[in-house]
């Protein structure tokens, strides 16, 4: 039986890039060290800062919240989890339970927003009434609501669960269509635009998708291993993910090379043109005129709902005692 290369205990995983076996304890430490390295190398978060981690109930969220929770004491930052119930039938119910169990197990406060309580509908109805594709509406809604929560909570950064495989695939997809501006957003962190958008960090930037799965599994953390019913396995991202992992199988380390070099050269890619402005309806970031969330909700419900979302999050945060002192009277 293979033994851990550190302590000689029975091995549970083989790390191909390093050609070594690890036991459960040392595998968990190996993944946590990767997250810490990414946070330090890319200057993701500073001492005394507040980080809002977006969690969906899946394996990457579990790994994200657990590793950040373990590192928050040593690195001196405050961690809050944020979950959005998207109203996608049974799938959202299961993911909500997984997110709540995870946060409870880790002792991390979790703010949960149910989209249906604010909009009176979830993603499926919103997509139908606004006559836009499900995944596109879902992406816009999540981006908006997560940013709104970060602004209302006075967070210094939003942590997302994108792993190295996700970054490699977004990079390849954008490269294929020569959308270089999209590649400029794939770094390990994005900047805060004061008052309208909170910068995003990607602590799992150096963690492979398989490592993220094994971390959650070996930690005994709750997570939902089920796909959203709207995911189409024929879509380009899925094909690219398999393709990049066939390359990785032949040349171990190629994915890591891609993401670390991307992070190094991120400044060479052109930023999206146009001014960053403030949505006239909700006051948050927009690329000109009303933001996409306010436009979608205006189309579906007859009025923009950004301000309603912001109010609801603020009320939930106040109930949980999570508003920062400087914000509670503004």
């Amino acid at each position: 039986m293979a033994k851990c290369s550190v302590c000689q205990a029975p091995a549970v995983a083989y790390v191909r890039v390093q050609r070594r076996y690890l036991c459960r304890q040392h595998y968990l430490e190996y993944v946590e060290a990767k997250v810490e390295r990414a946070i330090r190398r890319y200057g993701m978060v500073g001492r005394g800062q507040r980080v809002l981690a977006a969690v969906s109930g899946g394996k990457d969220s579990s790994t994200l919240l657990a590793t950040l929770s373990r590192l928050s004491g040593r690195l001196g930052f405050e961690l809050i989890g944020f979950y959005i119930h998207l109203g996608i039938y049974d799938y959202s119910e299961k993911s909500r339970r997984a997110a709540e169990e995870l946060a409870a197990k880790l002792g991390v406060p979790l703010l949960a927003l149910d989209l249906r309580e604010v909009l009176g509908m979830g993603i499926p109805e919103l997509a139908k009434t606004s006559r836009r594709p499900y995944c596109s509406v879902c992406g816009s809604v999540k981006r908006y609501v997560i940013n709104a929560a970060a602004v209302e909570l006075g967070a210094d950064a939003v942590a997302l669960g994108h792993n190295a495989d996700d970054i490699a695939v977004y990079n390849m997809k954008s490269f294929l269509s020569q959308d270089l501006e999209a590649i400029s957003k794939l770094g390990a962190k994005t900047d805060t635009v004061e008052g309208v958008a909170v910068g995003r960090i990607r602590p799992l930037y150096l963690v492979y998708e398989k490592e993220s799965f094994l971390y959650s599994l070996l930690s005994g953390l709750p997570f939902l291993h089920e796909e959203c019913p709207f995911v189409d396995r024929r879509q380009l991202e899925v094909e690219l993910k398999e393709a990049v992992n066939r390359l990785e199988d032949k040349s171990p380390g190629i994915k890591m090379q891609m993401v670390t070099r991307l992070a190094k050269r991120i400044g060479d890619y052109p930023r999206p043109r146009g001014e960053v402005s403030r949505c006239p309806s909700c006051g948050l970031i927009s690329s000109g005129g009303e933001c996409s969330f306010c436009r979608i909700t205006r189309r579906a419900l007859g009025r923009p709902m950004g301000m309603e979302v912001r109010r609801r999050i603020r009320a939930l945060a106040a109930e949980m005692g999570l508003l920062r002192a400087s914000q509670s009277h503004s």
Partner: protein, 70 residues
Amino acid sequence: MEGRARVRLVPEGRELDVEVGGGVTARRLLEELGMNEEMAVVLRDGAPLLPEDRVRPGDRVEVVRVLSGG
């Protein structure tokens, strides 16, 4: 069931019997299923198998695809 192992594919939930002869490695099983060890993990009794661990006739294993879609 001589020569075959019962494989449950996750997250699809589909089950199939795979010919494993006198036993195949987890790595070989994944290859038989058109996958590799970057894409999926083989679990027996909920615990991950190492690439060289053998899946034997009569075993029940789960092959978990770790790559999420979209």
